[in-house]
């Protein structure tokens, strides 16, 4: 079945159009769906894009997590009807809603971090076998609240369930496991759980060599489970 991608636009989303363009450039039928809709129509793939939904009021992603469209999303995930990708603020929204475990908190540096980073697949998600262990992507990050945190009691389960999907790595230094642009637990950049994936870096901003990297093409293709172009 051809993927039908819905990109959810919340008040304050600002990567929605980039994300639509990125998926369209991969040949996927893609449209924007507004946050106040109550159904996802015929979408097979749903993307929560980056931005500052609801101005990051209360906590980043906290208010968007309870927008009307999110009830439809929770329902569709429960029925196994869709695959979900949360990018940056979208990842924060998924955690705030409890669709993914843990939370994203202020970068340890106290600074907004806007930089190119390398991320590496630590645990290939069962749902997306195209992501192989050790695969690396060069992707940009741009966030103030990207430090992944999880309660001690849930930490072991995160590893046991194979949810630790992506981590930041230093391509120039020795692989000490200590490179960490935002102070995330174990340098975690993204996690996955069943049909849901979330990451802080922006693959949709890395679609052409002249943007700095085209690794986002491979990343989003693997998420769509389409043959990369």
């Amino acid at each position: 079945m051809k993927p039908k991608v819905a990109v959810i636009r919340f008040p304050g989303s600002n990567c929605d159009r980039d994300t639509v363009q990125a998926f369209q450039s991969l040949g996927a039928e893609t449209k924007i769906v507004a946050y106040d809709r109550e159904d996802l129509e015929d979408a097979t793939h749903v993307v929560l894009p980056g931005g500052f939904s609801y101005g990051d009021y209360l906590r980043a992603g906290a208010l968007a997590a309870h927008a009307p469209i999110m009830h439809a999303l929770v329902d569709a995930v429960g029925r196994g009807a869709i695959e979900v990708l949360g990018i940056c603020n979208g990842f924060q929204i998924l955690c705030e809603r409890g669709i993914l475990p843990g939370a994203l908190f202020a970068n340890v540096s106290g600074q907004f971090r806007c930089s190119w980073e390398w991320v590496e697949v630590l645990t290939p998600p069962a749902r997306w076998p195209g992501f192989r262990r050790g695969m690396r992507f060069r992707l940009p990050i741009a966030h103030a609240d990207g430090a992944y945190r999880i309660g001690n009691s849930d930490r072991e389960a995160l590893w046991a369930q194979g949810s630790v999907f992506l981590r930041y790595v230093d391509p120039d230094g020795p692989d000490t496991g200590e490179y960490n642009p935002n102070g995330s637990l174990e340098a975690i950049a993204g996690i996955s759980d069943g049909p849901v994936m979330g990451l802080m870096p922006h693959p949709e901003r890395a679609m052409q060599p002249w943007l700095g990297s085209k690794d986002g093409r491979l990343f989003l293709s693997l998420w769509l489970q389409e043959v990369p172009q």
């Binding site: 209360l58 906590r59 906290a62 309870h66 705030e96 843990g102 939370a103 908190f105 202020a106 970068n107 340890v108 540096s109 106290g110 945190r149 999880i150 309660g151 102070g183």
Partner: protein, 86 residues
């Protein structure tokens, strides 16, 4: 029904690093208060609600705190009744 005014303090758990608090504490030192040894920033939420009793109002507010206003991974909260208006 009585209207109760409640105040909720949402604070970071002690083990959670607070970059905003640290940056603020540094400027507090520079402004001539070197004796400040700890400064952590949280949120105060003022709530007015109708309820049959202070206990009912507190129970609702606690649910609101644990389900939404505080993130249990990072934060904890206290809530108390400020006043009631019959």
């Amino acid at each position: 029904m009585t209207q109760f005014r409640l105040r909720m303090a949402v604070t970071l758990k002690p083990e959670v690093l607070d970059p905003a608090g640290q940056a603020t504490q540094q400027v507090v030192h520079e402004r001539g208060f070197p004796e400040v040894s700890e400064l952590r920033i949280g949120k105060v939420v003022d709530i007015a609600m109708n309820a049959n009793s202070a206990e009912d109002a507190l129970a609702k507010a606690r649910r609101l705190g644990s389900e939404f206003l505080a993130n249990p991974v990072l934060e904890r909260f206290e809530v108390w009744v400020q006043s009631d208006e019959t």
